[in-house]
Every structure is written in structure tokens, then in C-alpha cells.
């Protein structure tokens, strides 16, 4: 019986199988593949490591050197960038490999699932970053990591005062005699701290939705283009998506770096 097999791009990742009670979505599968690819590459490079680089080690040394100098430009401090660089670069690699795996023209591989609407084709490869859960996880990790880094480098009390500024409130009592204008300035400073606290949540939202939106829109774009003229029309857009994948991974990593380096600097205290 010839049944129409449809495929539609959904906002959420589709499950391709089950592991006990845990549904395995195609985005999760692609994330695992990305991790596997990165780990394999790391092992291969690690095993043939030598003083005078050859072949693939050459390439990775050049990439690392470039990335580290870019990192220096953002943090402006070798000491900070040496601490944050491993995390930011891992995030970059993970997102990059994920974005590019989702573009691989292996759309024919997948499972056909029966549902009420008829048979639905579900591909195995869907960019892990085209699932809001992945990007949300990455964003939460990067913002919480930045605050932890701030606590480690400048201390818990100072980090706490960035958000709930008890120091500004207490300075009313100590400084009001010398400088009455503190009565106006301190509440404003306190309110700015509250805004910073909201800003942390805005950071999570903007990081996660930017990545998700760009990658998911890319998938929809490719599918729309191949519906107009299959095989030929999507080719230029695939190049565009390769570029977008690189840029978005770069932006995510750079913003992570920026958040870390902001957390590591404390606001200069004006002494009255």
C-alpha cells in the first residue's frame, strides 16, 4: 500500500527512539555525535603530539593560536583569558560541530513513524542547537559559570553587591553627614543593581534564543528553498548556512567570554 510519507519541520525536536522512559530526540542524537566527533579528534591529535608539529597538529595549533589572540582582544588580559579560554573554546567547538552536522545532506537517513496524521518521516540529524533545550542549557551554563567565576575572582560579597547593593544602602548611614546627595544616589545605585539582576535573566534569554532562532530559521529556509527547486536552489543557501553556523558559534563563545570578563571586573568604588 502506497502511503504518503510527509515531513514537516517542527519547532521541537522529534523523538526517534526510546531508552527506557527517556525519549531520544534527533537533536540529542546529533549532540552525542558532535561530542563523539570532538572527542575522537582530540584523541587523534593528542596521540600524535610532537614538538615540531606535523599535519593535523599544524592546523589545530594555528586555530588555537588565533582563537587565543582573539580571546585576548576580548578580555584584554592574558591571565583572565587563560582561565576562561578552555571553556569558551569548548563551547565554540560544540556549537560549531552541531551546526554543521545539522547541515549534512544525510536527510535520507531517518525513521518513519506512524501517527494519527499518517506516516511522518523523522531524520536522524537535526542540529542539536536547533532545539531550544540545548541552547537554553548552554546559556544557563555560561551565565551561571560567569557568576561563579566572579565569585572566585573578586569574592562572593562583591558579586552579591553587584545585584543587591547593600553597600550602597549602608553608605547612607555612614556618609550622609559629609555628603547629603548620597540620599539620592544610593537608592538609584540600589535600583541599578536590581536591573543587573534582571539583566542576568535577559542574558540567558538572548543567548539561547539567538542561537536557536538562527539555526532553526536556517533549517526552515533550506527546506523552503528545496521545495521551490530541489537540489539546485539550496546550494547557495547551504553555503550561507555554513557561514551562519560559524558566526553564531563565534558570537556565542565571544559573549560567554564577555560575560566572564565582566564578572571578573569589579565596579570602581568612588571614594567620597
Amino acid at each position: 500500500m502506497a502511503q504518503e510519507i510527509t515531513h514537516e519541520t517542527t519547532l521541537y525536536a522529534e523523538p526517534v527512539g526510546h531508552l527506557g522512559p527517556l525519549p531520544i530526540t534527533n537533536a540529542l542524537l546529533t549532540s552525542w555525535t558532535a561530542v563523539l566527533v570532538i572527542a575522537l579528534l582530540a584523541i587523534i591529535v593528542r596521540r600524535s603530539l610532537r614538538e615540531v608539529p606535523r599535519g593535523i597538529q599544524n592546523f589545530f595549533e594555528a586555530v588555537l593560536e588565533g582563537a587565543l589572540s582573539l580571546c585576548d582582544q576580548v578580555t584584554g588580559n592574558r591571565h583572565v583569558s587563560e582561565k576562561v579560554f578552555p571553556l569558551a573554546f569548548s563551547v565554540f567547538l560544540f556549537i560549531l560541530v552541531n551546526n554543521w552536522l545539522g547541515l549534512l545532506p544525510l536527510g535520507g537517513l531517518g525513521v518513519v513513524e506512524e501517527s494519527e496524521q499518517g506516516a511522518v518521516f523523522i531524520p536522524f540529524l537535526r542540529s542539536g542547537t536547533a532545539d531550544i533545550n540545548t541552547t537554553l542549557g548552554l546559556a544557563v551554563m555560561s551565565v551561571i559559570g560567569a557568576n561563579l567565576f566572579g565569585i572566585i575572582t573578586i569574592g562572593a560579597w562583591k558579586t552579591f553587591n553587584k545585584f543587591i547593593n547593600l553597600k550602597a544602602i549602608s553608605s547612607i548611614a555612614t556618609r550622609v553627614r559629609k555628603d547629603p546627595s548620597i540620599l539620592v544616589v544610593a537608592p538609584v545605585t540600589f535600583f541599578v543593581g536590581i536591573l543587573e539582576l534582571i539583566g542576568e535573566f535577559a542574558k540567558v534569554a538572548s543567548l539561547s534564543f539567538r542561537l536557536f532562532g538562527n539555526v532553526f530559521a536556517g533549517e526552515v529556509l533550506l527546506i523552503a528553498m528545496s521545495a521551490i527547486l530541489p537540489y539546485l536552489l539550496p546550494i547557495p543557501f547551504i553555503f550561507l548556512e555554513i557561514f551562519v553556523g560559524l558566526i553564531q558559534a563565534l558570537i556565542f563563545a565571544i559573549l560567554t567570554l564577555v560575560y566572564f570578563s565582566i564578572a571578573a571586573t569589579h565596579h570602581g568604588e568612588e571614594q567620597a
Binding site: 535577559a202 534569554a205 534564543f209 539567538r210 532562532g213 558566526i247 565571544i254 559573549l255
Partner: protein
């Protein structure tokens, strides 16, 4: 009506960031044109600035999804 509200939310919300990113890009090109050696140094601040401008559009997107 709800569909219309969504469309207006993301449509209007994307105008400002679009103009902003365009201006950032234009000024970066101008800077690189004046001083081609500075291309590497211009890139990172440009990306960061456009990421912050883009964030506004993403807030509009979140609102559009949640209407």
C-alpha cells in the same frame, strides 16, 4: 487577531535592531576601508555590538512566541 498581534510584535520589533545592525555594519566597513590593517581589531567589537543590537529583536521574538 492573535496571529496579527504576533506578526506585529516581531515585525515592529525587528525594525529597530535591523537599522541598528545595518549602521554598525556600515560604520565597520567604513573603518576597514579607511584602515584595512585594522580589520582584525574591528571584527570583535563589531560582532559584540551587533549581538547586543540583535538581542532586542530576540526579545520581540520571545514576546511573539508567548502571545
Amino acid at each position: 487577531m492573535e496571529e496579527l498581534a504576533k506578526a506585529i510584535a516581531i515585525g515592529l520589533g525587528a525594525v529597530g535592531p535591523g537599522i541598528g545592525i545595518g549602521m554598525i555594519g556600515a560604520r565597520a566597513m567604513e573603518a576597514i576601508g579607511r584602515n584595512p590593517e585594522a580589520a582584525g581589531r574591528v571584527l570583535v567589537p563589531m560582532l559584540i555590538a551587533s549581538a547586543f543590537a540583535e538581542a532586542i529583536a530576540i526579545y520581540a521574538l520571545v514576546i511573539a512566541f508567548s502571545i
